[in-house]
């Protein structure tokens, strides 16, 4: 009774704040505060492992250093290439699988369950077991490839030409089901009468796909690619387990390099600047992407 009385005088707005307050506080504590702290650190020469050494303000030095470092741009190129190929493959295969599973046939549910299994696994575990699948001597992957086309012995992880493809293949294998599921949700939301009307107008299957299916599913596909894009920009665990960023730096993504700079070399100030640059990059791209996506939706 006393609690009721206590809350009786609160306005709707106050009750609203009461509900979202804890979440806002949590977000401030674990997201906003570290972000502001990282921005602050990015203007210093702070090394987290050098105890007793006071960080000094260095202005934009860290940012200039990051942007002028050739190796950083190499890592960004590796990341961009990884993102481009994984998103392209996941879009094409994911949509294809969704179209396939949108049809009614025996075993549809079982097949859907089997296809989504890879995305339920831990990325680190996936990285480890694919190293065995890629083993040139006993790996299943090499065996299957050689079964169809005799390439002889080839090392997916040890070759700088093949290693970037090795990580693209694994990520595509693991996350295409995610794109597929979202596309499938989009396909199932298309009302049947549209197809019935198209049939009456004697539209071909291809025309139905181009003028009904694709426009309906496109916002869903773009949303899936946005999620995958953000995730792959931050990709770390699977690639570390699979290639450790090697051979050399052939698969060293920006996030792997950031981790090495921040928590192995302990260049806290420098790596904070790098992290801020990465954050701004993905935030900027994300915003532009969402605006484009909204325009497509409005059409």
């Amino acid at each position: 009774m006393s609690v009721k009385k206590k809350f009786k005088g609160l306005s709707d707005k106050a009750v609203g704040w009461l509900f979202i307050g804890p979440t806002v506080l949590l977000l401030l504590a674990i997201n906003i505060y570290p972000l502001i702290y990282a921005i602050k650190m990015s203007f210093t020469n702070f090394y987290a492992n050098k105890i007793g050494r006071e960080p000094q303000f260095v202005g934009l030095k860290n940012y200039i250093k990051v942007l002028n470092k050739e190796a950083i741009w190499e890592k960004m190129q590796v990341t961009a290439s990884f993102m481009f190929w994984t998103l392209l493959l996941q879009a094409i295969i994911g949509l294809g699988l969704a179209l396939l599973l949108n049809r009614k046939f025996k075993g549809n549910e079982l097949l859907t369950t089997l296809i989504v299994l890879p995305m339920m696994l831990s990325p680190a575990v996936v990285g480890v077991f694919w190293t065995y699948l890629y083993n040139p001597q006993v790996g299943l992957f090499n065996y299957v490839v050689n079964f169809f086309y005799d390439l002889g012995s080839f090392d997916m992880i040890g070759s700088s030409t093949l290693a970037p493809w090795a990580i693209v293949i694994v990520d595509t294998w693991m996350w295409t089901p995610f794109t597929m599921l979202i596309c499938l949700a989009g396909l199932r939301s298309v009302p049947n009468y549209l197809y019935e009307a198209a049939e009456v107008d004697r539209a071909s299957k291809w025309q139905q796909f181009i003028y009904i299916t694709l426009p309906s599913v496109l916002p869903f596909l773009l949303l899936a690619l946005l999620f995958r894009g953000i995730e792959n920009f931050k990709m770390f665990d699977m690639v570390v387990e699979l290639t450790s960023g090697g051979p050399g730096s052939a698969t060293e993504l920006a996030s792997i390099n950031l981790k090495r700079e921040a928590f192995e070399k302990w260049k806290t100030g420098y790596s904070s600047a790098f992290a801020v640059i990465l954050f701004v990059t993905i935030f900027g791209f994300g915003n532009v992407y969402v605006k484009v996506m909204n325009k497509i939706k409005e059409r």
């Binding site: 090394y47 492992n49 992880i157 090697g246």
Partner: protein, 430 residues
């Protein structure tokens, strides 16, 4: 009931008060130490808990713990390269007063191990660890294949000298190549499992085994941190080129990111004729070969000079521990000659002179003489507080050249020097 509860509670409090935690890498010697430590607990009543971290995460885990002033560990068996950071950043307790009080003399331990595992600045009389586990990079080979008459005669015919322990790296390459792709007992075999790991320290530890043997120095002995012409000397370049040749000609397929366990697996599964690895693994290899017929062991071959990559660790008391007195009690016990002898008997590599100088030591195991030889010629990577910053660029550049085949050896070494200069400048050394 209440009495029972109180007595149980007091027991648990007591047992907590008399327990310490020791951190080390998860490998064979750690199991031997766990076995040995049972005697310490029996003698003192102090329980020792162990936390063994797999090698790929060992440095990350332990150094993060130290940097965060963590209290998880009371004792730490840390890599030789950490001693600089341990001393400079105050992670390790300085042990001089304790050694003096307890009569523990560093002259009782092998000088190379005291220098490498205990002192900072290097060679000074400031001790931050007790030499715990001597180690160096060495080689094991398939003696049973080497003993086959048909292979022996074929090799001799081809190379003009006997198939056996290689006298230098050129011979090592000849022998590895001889076995590369050869069918033995119906299986395809390969030359050598060498270090190529990219993530932590693997390929650096491997390539330096060649670079030291070619006579590489990190810096000008008269001008510290002056590396130009030393670390990238023609000999160093030749050694790195040679290591790449060894990888290309003799490593088994897929051996592009391999270190301790991968080398051991390749060897144990009969894939390779040679494996490069730490002495720490030889007791395990030897145990599976009781009559000594299958495996032989030898120290790192010389080329221009005799040298070997140093491994091994010292045992230190963590400054942030609340139980430093119990941890020191453990070190006091571990330093005893009788305990050191048991340590060697169980498969640990004692650094105590009483053990190493015993007349029976060289013949006590098939690899004991090699260990003695190696410990006399060891060289280590930078032991600077910034060693991780120094290690990472070397890992990347060497892996890029050796495994990835990118650029030249000289370019790789020049790139490493440029990165190292940056690290030393940031550290105020240059």
């Amino acid at each position: 009931m209440i009495l029972l509860f109180v007595s149980l509670f007091s027991f648990s409090v007591n047992s907590n008060a008399k327990s310490i935690t020791l951190g080390w890498a998860a490998w064979d010697p750690a199991n031997a130490l766990q076995e040995l430590t049972k005697e310490f607990t029996a003698e003192t009543g102090i329980e020792v808990n162990f936390e063994f971290v797999p090698w790929p995460n060992f440095a990350d885990r332990m150094l993060n713990e130290l940097n965060n002033k963590g209290k998880t560990f009371d004792l730490l068996i840390g890599d030789s390269q950490w001693i600089g950071a341990g001393a400079v950043y105050g992670h390790y307790v300085k042990l001089n007063d304790f050694f003096d009080k307890e009569g523990i003399s560093m002259s009782d331990f092998s000088p190379a191990t005291v220098y490498a595992y205990s002192t900072w600045p290097k060679g000074s009389k400031n001790y931050y660890a007790l030499p715990a586990m001597g180690d160096a990079l060495a080689w094991a080979y398939r003696k049973d294949w080497f003993d086959r008459p048909e292979l022996k005669s074929e090799f001799k015919k081809k190379h003009g000298y006997d198939l056996g322990v290689p006298a230098n790296w050129n011979q090592l390459h000849d022998m590895c190549k001889f076995f590369q792709g050869r069918e033995i007992d119906g299986q395809k075999r390969y030359g050598a499992a060498i270090n190529t790991e990219r993530g932590s320290e693997g390929i650096t530890m491997g390539v330096t085994a060649a670079m030291y043997a070619w006579g590489m120095e990190y810096e000008n002995p008269n001008k510290p941190y002056d590396m130009e012409g030393y670390f990238n000397s023609p000999q160093a370049v030749e050694a790195v080129e040679f290591y790449r040749k060894l990888y290309e000609d003799c490593a088994p397929p897929g051996h592009s990111d391999a270190y301790m366990v991968a080398n051991l697996d390749a060897y144990k599964s009969g894939q390779v004729a040679f494996q490069m690895n730490w002495y720490a693994f030889w007791p395990g290899v030897s145990k599976e070969d009781s009559d000594g017929r299958v495996s032989g062991f030898f120290a790192n071959p010389k080329q221009n000079v005799a040298a070997a990559t140093l491994g091994g660790q010292g045992i230190s008391v963590v400054k942030y521990s609340d139980k430093q007195d119990l941890a020191l009690e453990y070190i006091k016990w571990f330093a005893r000659p009788d305990v050191q002898q048991k340590w060697w008997d169980l498969g640990g590599y004692s650094c105590h002179n009483d053990v190493l100088n015993s007349p029976s030591f060289p013949t006590s195991t098939v690899y004991a003489q090699g260990f003695l030889d190696s410990m006399g010629i060891v060289k280590d990577f930078w032991q600077e507080p910034t060693f991780v910053e120094l290690m990472l660029p070397m890992q990347e550049a060497i892996h890029d050249y050796v495994v990835n085949g990118k650029g030249t050896a000289k370019e790789a070494l020049d790139k490493i020097i440029a990165e190292w200069v940056e690290v030393f400048e940031a550290d105020g050394k240059l």
